[in-house]
Symmetry: C2
Subunit: 207 residues, 2 copies
DNA sequence: GGCTTTCAGTGACTGTGGTCACTATTACAA
DNA sequence: TTGTAATAGTGACCACAGTCACTGAAAGCC
């Protein structure tokens, strides 16, 4: 892994900092569906995906709810603040597909915050982005009906996975949206009849 | 307004910074229900309440939805990031009661970020707090039934207003929760029957 | 006092989406 | 190929909460 590869994903950071990140951090492969962080765990590291993406879920006893995706060059900034205060995570993070990521220790981030103030700018940017995404999530939940929510979910997922079709189990969609399988089946059928999506042998396309 | 008064509310900041805040920022009185920031407006100042509180709402065409309160010594950190990037606000801020606040210009904050790195720590703390509150809000919306949501809303409101009873119109509750008046009437009656609250001539107490 | 406006209370009705119970289909391994 | 598990599809049912159309009660004002 060289400087330019990382720079491509993290254009906001200065070279010295990237060098230091490379020196002290590991690059790891995370298979799809690996749990990276559980609710209640102490946050000790910060993963930054270079390929693939990470799903961040709100975790309740019974149901989960997808909050947002962490994509290339981003980071779960929210667990970072938890990390800074030695706090426990309130969310769960799972690899959405096979993902390669840089793993940075919170301790190092603390050092870099002092040495490289530019990192603050990046963090504020990321905070802002996450906040926007959370607002969108709230908006969808409160104001959209389930069929619209499913549609938005599919569009978003297509965007994040950089493909033009999705192979998803109804079960998965239901879990991400905090709904139930049968209902998703119904909704998908409805969307198909309305010519908003196309489903052929389990592969969903948006029209 | 002297250094100690402010220090009391903002214990994380160093004296020099507080002095500079005092020198360059105004203290203003904001009457209840004054709109401080609308959705879509550019964020130019950062209000920090010294007494009273500010309600932050998600604003949709028809309905609003209460996101959280900004209390003494806190700040709407989320509009701050919007401010940093010259962005527009995604939320609406209203004085929840008669409020006194320090008004800091974003331009000054930008300067101070470089001069006083300690402000970053404070901001991360606040970011984290807002994030937690948003998560709680999402949680309540998705997983709680309306009666439980109303109950949590009342408890929270009591906390924020530092009183032990609330004089609220059903209308107001409905607006904050994105529901409708009649439904709130029904729910309050139910909560009363269940001995969770007590309502006497429009004044609500929690039991 | 009466008059008007605002707020609260109530019953009837409805749509959405969650649950249950079951069948049909597909995928895959022995 | 057949058996088994996983996934999808479907109809019946129901609870929650939103809407409508009112009536009743309080509050404010001349």
């Amino acid at each position: 892994m060289n400087l330019n590869t990382v720079k491509e994903h993290l254009p906001y950071l200065e070279d010295d900092l990237i060098k230091e990140i490379l020196k002290t951090s590991d690059k790891v492969n995370i298979p799809k569906n690996t749990v990276i962080l559980k609710k209640g765990e102490y946050v000790k590291v910060l993963p930054i995906p270079l390929s693939g993406y990470i799903k961040v879920l709100h975790q309740q006893e019974i149901k989960d709810l997808l909050l947002y995706y962490i994509q290339e060059g981003e980071s779960c900034i929210m667990s970072f603040s938890a990390g800074l205060e030695n706090g426990k995570s309130k969310v769960m993070a799972i690899a959405g597909e096979d993902t390669t990521a840089i793993i940075i220790s919170i301790e190092n981030v603390k050092l870099w915050l002092k040495k490289y103030p530019s990192i603050n700018t990046l963090f504020y940017k990321l905070y802002n982005q996450r906040y926007q995404e959370l607002l969108t999530t709230i908006n969808d939940i409160v104001f959209l009906k389930l069929d619209e929510r499913v549609y938005e979910y599919l569009r978003n997922k297509l965007n994040v996975s950089k493909t033009n079709s999705l192979k998803l189990k109804h079960r998965e969609i239901a879990e991400d949206l905090g709904s139930s399988r049968e209902v998703i089946t119904r909704v998908l059928k409805k969307l198909e009849i309305e010519n908003k999506i196309d489903v052929k042998s389990g592969i969903i396309k948006i029209l």
